[in-house]
Symmetry: C2
């Protein structure tokens, strides 16, 4: 039980993306049970100028894998953002988790002081590795995982906080 960049990135992100996959499974099951097209949920938004469920999942995946890759000095796998079903989104999360788990703790040792650049739209953000985790990667990943959950909850899918937090010895 040692605090490390690996523990606060790979372990945290693989857990929450795994929970998100379970939450998506409940979304698909809910659509089947209530007899409507699952695509209705995938395209659902909380506001007209917010991104729909599919994009929330894709971005959670991107920020998790890209952040860990930058910390490790690696190139993250690229995904094409072509998912159009719940199953495809779950497969993407599984591939993301596989990648995260392929990064050994040793590759992240000392990454807290690494200079990291993150290109976003019109500018480039600069962080030390620890700041990237604290104020970019962790908040962003949880933002998109939570918003995905909130979209499904708002649309009547029966999920609860335990689904969001994921399985553990405690639940």
């Amino acid at each position: 039980m040692k605090i490390s960049m690996h523990a606060l990135s790979v372990e945290v992100f693989s857990r929450t993306l795994g929970s998100l996959s379970q939450v998506l499974a409940k979304g698909a099951a809910s659509a089947a049970q209530r007899k409507f097209e699952p695509g209705v949920l995938l395209a659902a938004r909380l506001a007209p100028d917010m991104l729909p469920l599919t994009r929330q999942v894709q971005i959670a995946s991107d920020i998790a894998k890209n952040s860990v890759a930058r910390l490790a000095g690696q190139q993250a796998p690229r995904f094409e953002d072509t998912e159009s079903t719940f199953e495809q989104l779950q497969a993407r999360l599984a591939r993301t988790i596989d990648y995260l788990r392929s990064v050994p703790a040793s590759a992240l040792e000392g990454s807290e002081t690494r200079d990291i650049k993150v290109p976003v739209r019109d500018r480039t953000l600069e962080f030390k590795g620890l700041e990237l985790l604290q104020h970019w990667a962790i908040p962003n990943v949880f933002f998109h995982v939570t918003t995905a959950y909130d979209i499904l909850r708002h649309n009547g899918v029966e999920i609860g906080k335990r689904d969001f937090l994921g399985t553990s010895n405690n639940s």
Copy 2:
């Protein structure tokens, strides 16, 4: 720039609760501008069986301060959950942040291996300190901060991801 329990709890939570306070200020301003009772937003929910905005803010505050207190072996300040205005919620967040910042890094040193019990409703969760942070405190705080943001966004408040992430050198 050293990775520590303090950096991943006090620093992360005080930043996101500060951002939440700014997001709430925009909610209050939006109600004033659009000429409706601010209490409408405070009572807004994303689903009938989800908690309203006020409770999302109170719980984000509670989990942040209680988690840090448990890690530090302290008693957290108790708040009475009586807030009924945006200003009162912002004051609560300010008090929460004051408490978090009062906990020195030294008080959290070694807390990653501490045995922590968290009473929830009908049971008691048990964690090592690091697990508490990874799989309970961080996900929970961001869940409630994001859901508060999502409630306001869903109700037409003009906020964006930069408000959620908070001010920094980068924004």
